[in-house]
Symmetry: C2
Subunit: 768 residues, 2 copies
């Protein structure tokens, strides 16, 4: 073997040498990986038997090349690479191809060799700029410098993200640059609220508040644009965004969707012009998630043709009501009682202030006080003491009181009626999800731009300090969150499109998806903003850098428009119902039989080899990632169904069954929404122009493998993968993060957030 | 088999029946669990062969008892239980014992039978009040009511937590009840800061600021009490707590620990009386984590015997400096240059304002502005323009300028000197860790007390709505966090004791532990407060309920006194150094050999059966939990050492090696601190009075299994457990959470947080 260690390097081996050099310098490879590498080398037609013998000698993890051999490799590479320019040296496979052919006939090596080298680079897990830098620093310090080009066209990606709404988005970008919307911390809530009120009125003057209403009342009949406006406003002040949503989305939406012609005629135009301000008085102190349990009553008095609105106690007061201090009208949700019969929750228009802003008799309104954030929104509490309004104030699309004083509804079933009325919330939930994505985008943009300037700790005296973005812990913090932000962006826009296209038949499904995506996107925002804040250290804590407002303001997103924990259970119930229905009420047994069959079929496909298949190409393939997401969803569904069936057989009260299986319901909802999100991402790539596919694919792979790795314990427990494959997933996940490192500035620039909305001094180059 | 299903129930079987009833009604048991249950039944001497046959028949998961059999069980139990009072029916084993003996001779069944029943209850995973409720609701609705007694003496647990510091803690509890410390949101930073300044002065007047200083300067020479004061203050306003820490801990600590006699004589007494206010000017805009890279210079001028303090540029300005707007003195950290030689970072006393509060010439101080939280702390920026101070202002314990103008230090090595000076930060880090535990305690107390009153959703019309604390998702959110809060409390108090007892020899180790426990406890606080906020829904978002202040104020804990990510790397380096040293510089190889041997030994112990051992007793045993923690730490250490050795052999620059292995270093630090925390918890139980051991054991088990489950993917990957055991861990973890449910109010009451500090209306019964 002495002969091998001292053998001189020939031209053929040179092609492989950059990879071997970095492989040994960078990685701790497992025996099975080394075996795989040997098989690639064995199949390379470029190499002679003796070359293969030489290379195989250096694939034994227990026998690393001694220092002198290692140095001889470096020198051989250096000698041949001296003629190449920086760019030509910056990728290992290309470098190998060039130094090898450069020495012989000058011809390019074959496509086959190139493919083998790429495969080898994958197997060594060094196909990323960070690994490549290891060699480049040695042979050409300039080539390995930090200014690595972004691999895609940022404007094109931006166009893809804007999609069909480019015009509206650009309109809003333009509008939000106006000094009126300048981000400025205002500690006094009363001053802040007045500023926000003026901003909301200006938005109405600019006409961006009317998109979702009928043209005959000055609207645009473009529901999609309404959601997009909300999404874009979230790049600016979230108090303004939320107040906008309360006035035009909740209050306006209730008038439009729950009211009938006479209400539309009277209210829609002044409402969307912000001449008439109103609030959406649903939640009570005692009842938030459980809207069905509201205590406020709306009792019909046939003698006077009036409805009497009443709060029977302190806990029956309406709470957290946005716009409460500026409203003249309230849409009040209350138990409608006609002829002593309770017909369930209905909405009634109740004037709460006169034209001068004085609170009307019987109405008590209190300022809700300071909150963690959103202090520019005037949230308040409202109690009603036997307040009488004309019966015509009942928003009566789904329930009318006839001339004779009797109640009628187009929907017989009270539960169904209730859920139909609440269905009006679906646009709000999609909008909050979109806004949460905007806050994630903004936080990541600030944190990443700062990390691309901020330096801390040098390798050696005299050296520049490292960019903090180049620390693995920093990449770990920000880059997976970036991939997930793209994923939720795609999924929520798909959902918005679906809502716009819906003729009513798709409503149940949209509700399920809206509840789930709202929850996942808002939890993601909370997580992402927290990581971004910590990633910016003390700078992230200063109000001037916007992360504090993002954090404080968006925190309630996980609670309002439906508490996430409650919503995730709705998702699970929606999924269970859907599956039951698709079996024509055959019941659970048929469902379980079907699922078990399907799963067993799947599992048999995942034979011993497949469970251990740690091949790079396999792990980043759409097929594997989709299969994994699908498996998690189906297995969770099967287990949950089995569990519920046993309880129900035991005559456990159905409500108790839901209580006992609550954590499994949450898990089902989570796996379902992950699956839906992945599908949207995949479809987006399908529709994207070819030149954007590579970057989108890397983000898709990271979203996929990061999600799988979050649940790797579950996958191992359920025998979908074995330890070796789990480790490979982690490794490739890390590699994908490093691969994306050069592109992250482009990836955040593609969001197209106006500088005036970013506002944080640390996000701008001039800062340092 | 017909005979079996219709066989009537005898007295012996009755003992087991409550368990079987609930087991079938509640659980989805795996075949291997059922096997285990059969083996228990087989060994019960109480039962005849025919009894065993009967019971075994009902241990086949594929053959659940039909409804009529199930009902016959319930009727048999009901009939015999009618004479018992509520209390006697509230636990399944006791119920079985009673109904069985009640029917025969009236004698108590044997201890052996009792033990078998307890074992069976474990195996069925129904030894918790929530499972028991399932039967109790059927046979006696009142016995299953929500008012389950707390299983331990709360006052005794409180005493255990207070430990040797009971007197100081009670003193602070008393003090913080004073209206001067009333928690009241103040949006205007300038007003807020003045209030906090007055509070800090009052604390000084009360003498609680002097504990850590020498008696001859009016101090208490009780360093431990100083940390405890900080811990207790964190129950109240965190701005006050932090300003207190800056003035007496950082500023006072620097004067005391880095200064010498003449500084002590002149400054210590006015400092701890808050007559002299000062700041600790270390961090610069350009350098936070990398203190060694500070740019401010302190140049000695031998002609005038002065030191010239200078900030060479904008980025060299001191930033985030607490007390900056109220200080007359600053302890400035700067590069000390004597005779044109840089001796590294030293601390110099620099007057920044005159007695009237006017800023002195050459000093520029700017208000740092609003922050996410801690707006009662006057953080600012300071720049120095060639400011001259007498050379005697050098805090010269570790570096002196002699009469001749030359520099001397008792510590020759500049790096060692630097770290010795920074060692003064260790008390601050322990204190911040303790304060973080206090914030977790407060957040959990508020969230749990609210959850024990708040109801939402009823099972059936007319039924009361469920307490939100009884939802599994709610328990999942709050109960593991509670166990971890106890764990960090114990670990940090152990560390504080260790610091108090240290004569200097233990300093390195204490630094490592302080860095790690500070990081883990502050991340835990961020997580816990977030969960608590979400658990309180909209109420949690209102300022009046304190969670918003806790969240906003404590958020920077993960950054200040050392960024957690940086600190965790220090921990890892500390661990690596310690292991290297313990091998007498034999180097890495010896270390790895040793570790591999130890790990192989361990792994051989964990043979096939052990990896699958899902026995309840095994999984909750201290041995298993400790072994698992130990294994994770050692395996991580081995893998990291191997990886580093390979890089170093390849002559990769050591700094690059740390960069490349950064995520592994973080993992090592994490596993190490987990292990230390577990040890403290175990020792605490050892020292606790016997009657507290059961509750502490349950908390220990939950802390242990929850931590193991967080890493179950890692354990599976590393072949420490198999899927079946991983599932069992999850199940038992869930069971432990349910077991702790009745005790949680006691567990938070034991923290002894004064009502005046809780302050949140939702934490009080009168609220509803």
């Amino acid at each position: 073997m002495e002969a091998i260690t001292t053998r001189s390097i020939n031209e053929r081996i040179l092609a492989v040498l950059p990879l071997f050099y970095v492989g040994w310098a960078d990685s701790v490879l497992s025996p099975s990986e080394m075996k795989f590498i040997r098989s690639i080398v064995a199949n390379m037609t470029l190499l002679t038997k003796s070359d293969k013998e030489y290379l195989n000698h250096w694939t034994d993890p227990s026998q690393p090349p001694p220092e002198e051999v290692f140095k001889s490799w470096l020198n051989a590479i250096k000698a041949k690479a001296s003629d190449l320019d920086h760019q030509q040296k910056s990728a290992l496979v290309e470098l190998g191809m060039r130094i090898s052919s450069a020495g012989t006939s000058g011809e390019q090596l074959s496509k086959e060799t190139y493919d083998s080298l790429v495969e080898l680079e994958h197997a060594l897990a060094i196909d990323n700029p960070v690994s490549a830098k290891l060699l480049l620093d040695q042979i050409d310090p300039l080539a390995g410098s930090e200014s690595i080009d972004i691999s895609f066209d940022v404007d094109e990606l931006s166009k893809l993200l804007d999609g069909r709404y480019a015009q509206t988005k650009n309109r809003l970008r333009q509008l939000l640059r106006d000094p009126l919307f300048q981000l400025k911390h205002e500690p006094d809530k009363d001053i802040y609220r007045l500023r926000v009120l003026e901003q909301v009125k200006e938005l109405a003057r600019q006409g961006v508040s009317a998109y979702s209403f009928p043209k005959k009342y000055g609207g645009g009949e473009r529901q999609g644009d309404h959601m997009i406006v909300f999404e874009m406003l979230a790049f600016s002040d979230l108090s303004m965004t939320v107040k906008f949503g309360v006035q035009f989305g909740l209050f306006g939406g209730a008038l439009y969707l729950l009211g009938t012609e006479r209400h539309h005629r009277k209210y829609l135009e002044p409402m969307h012009k912000a001449e008439l301000l109103g609030c959406f008085a649903m939640t009570e102190t005692g009842h938030g998630s459980n809207v069905k349990g509201l205590e406020t009553t709306a009792t019909y008095d046939h003698d006077t043709k009036e409805i009497i609105i009443h709060s029977p106690g302190f806990q029956a007061g309406k709470e957290y009501i946005g716009n409460a201090l500026h409203s003249t009208l309230a849409v009040v949700f209350a138990q409608l009682i006609v002829n002593e019969e309770n017909h369930g929750v209905h909405a009634v228009i109740v004037p709460v202030r006169d034209q001068k802003g004085v609170t009307l008799p019987g109405i008590k309104i209190e300022d809700g006080g300071y909150k963690l954030g959103l202090n520019g929104v005037d949230n308040g509490r409202i109690w009603f003491d036997q307040v009488r309004v004309p019966a015509s104030n009942l928003l009566d699309r789904y329930g009318k009181i006839g001339e004779s004083g009797s109640y009628h509804s187009p929907i017989e079933n009270p539960a169904k009626r209730f859920f139909t009325m609440l269905g009006a919330l679906v646009v709000g939930r999609i909008s909050v999800g979109l806004a949460a994505v905007s806050t994630s985008k903004k936080a990541l943009t600030i944190a990443i731009k700062y990390a691309l300037q901020r330096r801390q700790f040098e390798a050696k005296p005299e050296h520049p300090e490292f960019l903090i973005m180049d620390y693995p812990s920093h990449m770990e913090r920000l880059i997976p969150a970036l991939a997930h932000t793209y994923a939720y962006d795609f999924a929520l826009h798909d959902l918005a499109d679906r809502q716009v296209a819906d003729d009513g038949t798709d409503h149940r499904k949209i509700e399920t998806l809206a509840a789930g995506l709202k929850s996942k996107a808002t939890w993601h925002a909370t997580h992402t903003i927290q990581e971004s804040r910590e990633a910016c250290g003390g700078k992230g804590y200063l109000t001037e850098n916007q992360l504090s407002a993002l954090k404080a303001d968006s925190d309630i997103f996980t609670t309002f428009e439906g508490d996430n924990t409650v919503l995730m259970q709705l998702v699970a119930k929606g999924v269970l119902t859907e599956f039951k229905q698709s079996f024509h009420e055959e019941g659970n047994r048929a469902l379980i039989r079907y699922l078990l069959k399907k799963a067993n079929h799947k599992l048999s496909e995942f034979n011993f080899i497949q469970k251990r298949n740690s091949d790079y190409g396999h792990l980043v393939s759409t097929e594997f990632i989709e299969e994994a997401f699908e498996f998690r969803f189906e297995k969770t569904l099967i287990k949950l169904s089995e569990r519920m069936r046993k309880y129900l057989k035991r005559k456990v009260d159905p409500h108790d069954v839901f209580l006992k299986t609550q954590m499994h319901l949450m898990e089902l909802a989570d796996s379902y929404i992950d699956k839906i999100t992945l599908e949207s991402f995949r479809n987006k790539i399908g529709d994207a122009p070819d030149h954007l596919k590579p970057i989108l694919n890397r983000m898709f792979q990271l979203f996929g493998l990061h999600t799988i790795y979050l649940h790797h314990g579950w996958y191992l427990e359920n025998d979908f993968i074995e330890g070796i494959k789990s480790k490979a997933i982690r490794k490739i996940r890390t590699k994908l993060i490093q691969d994306l490192r050069p592109d992250i500035e482009g990836l955040v620039n593609a969001f197209g957030i106006p500088d005036e909305c970013l506002a944080a001094p640390i996000a701008f180059k001039e800062y340092t």
